[in-house]
């Protein structure tokens, strides 16, 4: 079967795709709106603004890779599609961060899990940050619009065994699980979402909104790094960019200057604050790059006595919110339970230890089952997240201290996951922790987890959700941007990505970005054109 590659076809039709790494000379370009970043926020903004009749340029630091490039191999995918080759880390190296860096951003590599922003989160935002029109009802039409556009619906095919074990173990303990909603259309159920969907089934920005914008004449510059906004008083006059070298690690020599009436930042919750910091943007609230949240995630690995083959089948199809819903949102940290896909590099590097013990575990790869617990950070009084700062070369790094509030949640989450895995018949359970050699029963696990030392770089913590750093809010003294993502001080600048969120989401954030940005971008289109905004296709 021949799979169509929208970008091969689009290039033939004259889509304006510029690989900055191949430019031979400096250049200038101009549009009505320049969007920095082509992920969830950039993609939705691009389609709405282009449909509303505005000329759009999208800047993406990563490369353009599409259907034919997606070989389902980690060795190709991580260097090409992920920030820092999927090895991005917090300043003390204690948290590994998975984030996309390619056309489509994280939507090209995420696992398709889609959730409307939980009501408890929105209620907290309304009360605490003055975001009065962030009620579930006010956002409903926008969530529905992106659900139609991106084919988001509940996944009713049979879960793979890895997910089924979550359901089986949880139900024995009276813990409810739910069916995941996914942004897929004609999914082949093969399980390689994380390395670029090879069948165009995942409705990422790469195959939906970006092609729509390109079809309407938008330009995408890829392998182009947005370096600095040029400011004049309360206006942004231009964006200075530098072409990346072909390998994508170091900036090259060619420079591109982009001018526009309006600038939209959608470079992710590390990239967007970093661009504002590099540009010396006004920050009277002192909150720029602060309160960055991660859903710190911990891992429990089990060995079953039957094949699990966690690489096979849609990666995330069941989840449990039991340990979020059973407590106040600002109480001790709650956690969402999910399951990750298992692939050799991700699995082998995540498992602690080395030598014969590690090799032995690897030979049992087909019987491995893994649970994740994602901690809901940013609500508890003491959960203040991290801070984005700049290295000497201007690249960003996130400093995220792991404190007692987190460790308390981590220990409870490890207990929950081990209990579920043993209830589902696990022969052995391993907390992913440098000092854990595994347990053979729930009783020994319970005792062992109680004693595990909770320290950075000993307890392994990962994240795939970066949020905050340009928090929105009603009061300029307590936020970076307003409720529509408009910068409080810079009149022609908006933020349109996960950095808007004043707390974490408490669920995989892609649909929160889609829905909230759809409303904000529509508001922006109306402001810029004086006419009602066009809807997503």
């Amino acid at each position: 079967m021949m799979l169509r590659d929208p970008y091969t076809e689009g290039a033939a039709k004259g889509w304006k795709l510029v690989d900055a790494a191949t430019l031979q000379a400096d250049r200038e370009d101009e549009a009505d709106v320049v969007i920095v970043g082509s992920g969830a926020g950039g993609g939705i903004s691009a389609e709405i603004l282009a449909r509303s009749g505005l000329r759009v340029i999208v800047v993406e630091e990563g490369p353009l890779r599409s259907t034919a490039d997606f070989k389902m191999r980690e060795a190709d995918a991580y260097p090409q599609l992920y920030q820092e080759s999927a090895a991005r880390k917090t300043a003390d190296k204690a948290i590994n961060i998975l984030q996309g860096r390619c056309v489509g951003g994280s939507t090209t590599v995420n696992w398709t899990s889609s959730f409307r922003t939980p009501p408890a989160t929105l209620e907290f935002w309304q009360k605490r940050f003055g975001l009065a029109d962030y009620s579930p009802n006010a956002l409903l039409p926008w969530f529905e619009m992106v659900e139609r556009r991106l084919s988001i619906s509940a996944w009713f095919a049979a879960p793979n065994t890895n997910n089924e074990i979550l359901r089986a173990g949880a139900s024995k303990l009276g813990i409810e699980t739910q069916v995941m909603r996914r942004n897929v259309n004609g999914c082949w159920n093969i399980g390689y979402c994380g390395v670029g969907c090879p069948t165009n089934a995942k409705q990422s920005m790469l195959v939906t909104t970006l092609p729509a914008a390109l079809e309407l004449g938008a330009t995408i510059y890829h392998r182009l790094r947005a370096e600095r906004l040029i400011l004049a008083g309360d206006r942004v006059t231009a964006l200075d960019c530098v072409a990346m070298e072909p390998k994508g690690v170091h900036p090259g020599a060619v420079r591109v200057r982009l001018k526009a009436r309006h600038f939209v930042l959608a470079g992710g919750a590390i990239g967007s604050p970093a661009l504002l910091l590099r540009s010396a943007a006004p920050d009277p609230s002192g909150l720029l790059g602060k309160r960055t949240f991660l859903h710190p995630t911990v891992i429990s690995s089990a060995l079953m006595d039957f094949p699990v083959n966690g690489h096979d089948g849609a990666p995330q199809t069941l989840y449990s919110d039991h340990f979020l819903d059973d407590r106040p949102v600002d109480g001790p940290l709650g956690y969402k339970l999910e399951v990750p896909p298992l692939h050799p590099v991700l699995f082998s590097t995540t498992l602690q230890g080395f030598g014969p013990a590690h090799a032995e575990l690897m030979t049992q790869f087909p019987s491995a089952q893994v649970l994740l617990a994602l901690l809901r950070d940013g609500f508890h009084e003491q959960s203040r997240g991290g801070t984005v700062r700049l290295r000497d070369d201007g690249t960003p790094v996130l400093d995220y201290p792991l404190d007692e509030t987190i460790w308390d949640g981590v220990r409870r989450a490890l207990l929950t996951m081990a209990e579920i895995q043993f209830a589902a018949g696990a022969k052995k359970v391993y907390a992913v922790h440098e000092e854990c050699a595994g347990w053979q029963s729930w009783a020994t696990a319970k005792e062992g987890i109680a004693r595990l030392p909770m320290k950075p770089l000993t307890m392994r913590v990962v994240s795939a959700h970066v949020m905050g750093g340009c928090a929105m809010g009603a009061e300029p003294g307590q936020s970076v941007v307003g409720p529509r993502g408009r910068h409080h001080q810079l009149g022609n600048l908006s933020v349109a990505d996960g950095s808007l969120f004043p707390t974490s989401i408490g669920a995989n954030p892609q649909q929160s970005v889609y829905g909230i940005v759809a409303r904000n971008a529509s508001d922006l289109a109306t402001t810029l054109t004086g006419k009602p905004a066009a809807a997503l296709a």
Binding site: M1, M2, L3, K71, M72, R73, E74, A75, Y78, P79, Q83, E84, S85, A87, R88, K89, D92, K93, A94, W188, I190, Y192, P198, T199, K247, V249, H250, H311, P344, V345, F347, S348, T349, F354, G355, P356, A357, H358, A359, E360, M362, T363, F365, P366, R391, D393, T395, V397, E434, E435, P456, L457, T458
Partner: protein, 176 residues
């Protein structure tokens, strides 16, 4: 320009600073780090260290007999170098410092506690080094261990040659 003599001087001074800084969890002295990396460039340092530590990290998966062992050593050193070249610029710099610190004899002895040259060191000496960093009280050393862990295991299991041993069939054919 750094002459050999000034390099050796700053190199040794840098090494001492690194050892002290590591011991006290201080930020490392920039001049010392630069001299260390200048004198122990990434390609050679990485190859020296990875050829020695990879068979220990991968013990149980690594081939036992020659010539497969020697071939596997070269292959993993090459694949780790490829993986490092794709890291972010900041991480590449830090990895270059890590391999320089491990390759340079005075810091190898002072910070890693490996008395023998890498190509002569026995598996038990290398294992003791890895364990001491894995469980170190110093975050910098723990993160150094984790970098070695992730680079070596990631490069090994990225290689389709090593999938059969773990029962991973590889990605499905899409018939194209």
């Amino acid at each position: 320009m750094i002459t050999r003599r000034t390099f050796i001087k700053t190199g040794i001074a840098g090494a001492t600073l690194l050892a002290l800084a590591a011991a006290f969890q201080r930020p490392l002295d920039r001049a010392g780090k630069q001299a260390l990396v200048a004198g122990n460039p990434l390609d050679a340092s990485l190859a020296t260290v990875v050829r020695a530590v990879a068979p220990v990290i991968l013990q149980g998966a690594f081939p036992a007999g020659e010539p497969q062992r020697a071939l596997a050593r070269e292959r993993i050193a090459r694949d780790v170098a490829t993986a490092v070249s794709a890291l972010g610029a900041g991480a590449q710099q830090e990895v270059a410092e890590l391999f320089a610190l491990l390759a340079f004899a005075p810091t190898r002895i002072a910070v890693a506690g490996v008395a023998t040259a890498w190509d002569q060191a026995g598996a038990s000496e290398i294992e003791a080094f890895l364990r001491s960093w894995q469980h170190s009280r110093v975050d910098l050393l723990k993160s150094g261990y984790q970098a070695l862990h992730d680079l070596v295991l990631g490069a090994w299991y990225a290689d389709p040659q090593n999938w059969g041993a773990i029962g991973y069939p590889g990605p499905p054919s899409l018939g194209r």
